[in-house]
Symmetry: C2
Subunit: 327 residues, 2 copies
């Protein structure tokens, strides 16, 4: 049984891989679980990802987009069991031999020579709590836009600290290197006597599973509904190049907008080589509080090896704009 | 001698290629000249691009960025002769056998079994002129933001028509499929009784030469200086992935900003696989009239297969911001 948090955890897992186990079960369908599953599959180990949401990469992706990742992983030979509830670990001779789950109304057991736990992360706030530094509603250290905690002379930045979400308007606690680096720089400037504010986050993130690329920014459709928005959500199935180009691979872009005023709320991309980094163009639109209507005619680049003449970002925005007109 | 405008021109050139010529000269270092040079080189034909500016892809790229493309092309085995002035065609027996040039103070001759002319394009305005429809300062048909010419009941769109440049504030005439498609849609909406305005262009464009990708948007450093801006221009040499990732390839991003107020004016990217489409994130910032200072902390995506934790767009913006602080 292996946790998947530190470099030492990775080293321990590698030592086990060298013993040539036959079957691995990874509990957790997040970034880390998927990275480890890919690595084990490439080692020739029969690998199963077991996760409780209806698809992987929840809640970063909506279920419809996560299902595309699940389908791809299965094509690659990684078993994925979604909608499972872990009930027990099975074992013999003091060793774990599998995971017992509830899948719907049924019991299922997934045998494992190796068990990896990719169960997510929580902010490390023990020092803050011991020092009497207040936490915020996300459970992380509460800070202002200068990275000041609520205790004079104490700053916080990174995974232990909150960040202001520019779309939801709420404090959030995302464990991403991008946010930690930016907050660290801002904290350093202000600690050194400077005056710089951190403008907040969108939760932009990118990953890949084998050769499938995944990008996301802002609110998912589900999160936008939970936040009370009158949600427009449109998917556009396209390709990573012009459709006739020899290297074209499928790419789906999902755009989420506020039906009340057309404002972009978030986007997700799942597709082949070159798909995911396109999320940055949408993140830049989201940062600037653009409406999907305003996005339709933006002068984005085109050549056949890179996209159709109407970039998929523009078409997805147009679909959302059209859906809003008929909303 | 071959023009390079139409599909028939391409067919004629292909028939000549089938005769296995040894040496080709392409006059012109623009998009078309480079595409044809690449195709001929791949056919095993000794290919030379002859162009009068100091680098290829002028004026779409600044010279320093175009020189990177020249160096790459030479590495790929395409000869590139910049700063040349065509003086004459040489010939024998009624056939062209080469191009005579002035290179600096010297004469040079480049022998050619095949000569391709990629000399750029001009707007097709003969019909408009014959009909008395006024042209604008760019030489293309003058239109308003609804694609109306200055003659009641006549619309124009595409390569024959002008477009408003959002950064220079001037009418321009770029021959790009992106602009033509968007203008055509707007013209159609308005012809059909609708009311939609075209918000203008940035001149965003993308291309590739062999495996080198090139993207550009907005004003070049040279164009910004010509337009009277107090220009800040910074280059950032980076990689297409995290530096330690096995597929990392060099990527250079150039950012041009207005020293007076920090406003982004343009950007250029030259680099390996995955480099060029990143121009869209910068185009989106440019469209929204962002300053380089405001760009520094935008929440762009990161994972090692795609970029460093500080996306090169952010680092280039920070370099421009720092340069401005010391300007």
């Amino acid at each position: 049984m292996h946790e998947l948090h530190t470099l030492d955890h990775a080293r321990a897992l590698r030592r086990v891989v060298e013993l040539r186990p036959r079957a691995a079960v990874i509990v957790g369908g997040g970034y880390i679980g998927l990275e480890v599953a890919e690595a084990l599959m490439h080692e020739g180990i029969a690998t199963t990802v077991v996760t409780s949401p209806p698809a992987v990469l929840a809640p970063q992706l909506d279920t419809d987009m996560g299902e595309r990742v699940v389908a791809y992983m299965r094509d690659q030979g990684i078993a994925v069991e979604t909608g499972t509830r872990i009930e027990c670990l099975t074992g013999a001779d003091g060793r774990v031999t599998g995971v017992g789950c509830r899948v719907g109304d049924d019991d299922a057991e997934f045998p494992a020579d190796v068990l990896g736990l990719g169960l997510g992360s929580v902010p490390e706030v023990r020092l803050a709590e011991a020092a009497g530094i207040p936490l915020g509603e996300s459970g992380a250290v509460s800070i202002d836009d200068h990275m000041r905690t609520r205790v004079e002379g104490v700053w916080a930045a990174g995974d232990c600290a909150e960040a202001y979400h520019r779309i939801s308007g709420r404090p959030v606690n995302f464990h991403l290197g991008t946010i930690a680096n930016k907050q660290g720089r801002i904290a350093g400037i202000n600690l050194g006597g400077g005056d710089e504010a951190f403008p907040g986050v969108l939760g932009t993130a990118i990953t890949k599973v084998c050769d499938l690329e995944i990008g996301r920014t802002g609110l998912t459709e589900a999160a936008a509904r939970d936040a009370g928005f009158d949600v427009i959500a449109e998917n556009f199935d396209s390709t990573t190049t012009a459709g006739y180009w020899p290297t074209a691979e499928p790419m789906t872009m999902k755009v989420i907008a506020d039906g009340a005023n057309g404002r972009l709320l978030g986007a997700q991309i799942v597709g082949g080589s070159g798909a995911a980094k396109r999320i940055d163009a949408v993140a830049m639109a989201l940062w600037n509080e653009m409406t999907v209507e305003a996005m339709v005619n933006v002068d984005l680049s085109y050549a056949p090896p890179f996209s159709g003449v109407w970039d998929p970002v523009l078409v997805a925005a147009r679909k959302a704009s059209d859906a809003r007109a008929h909303h």
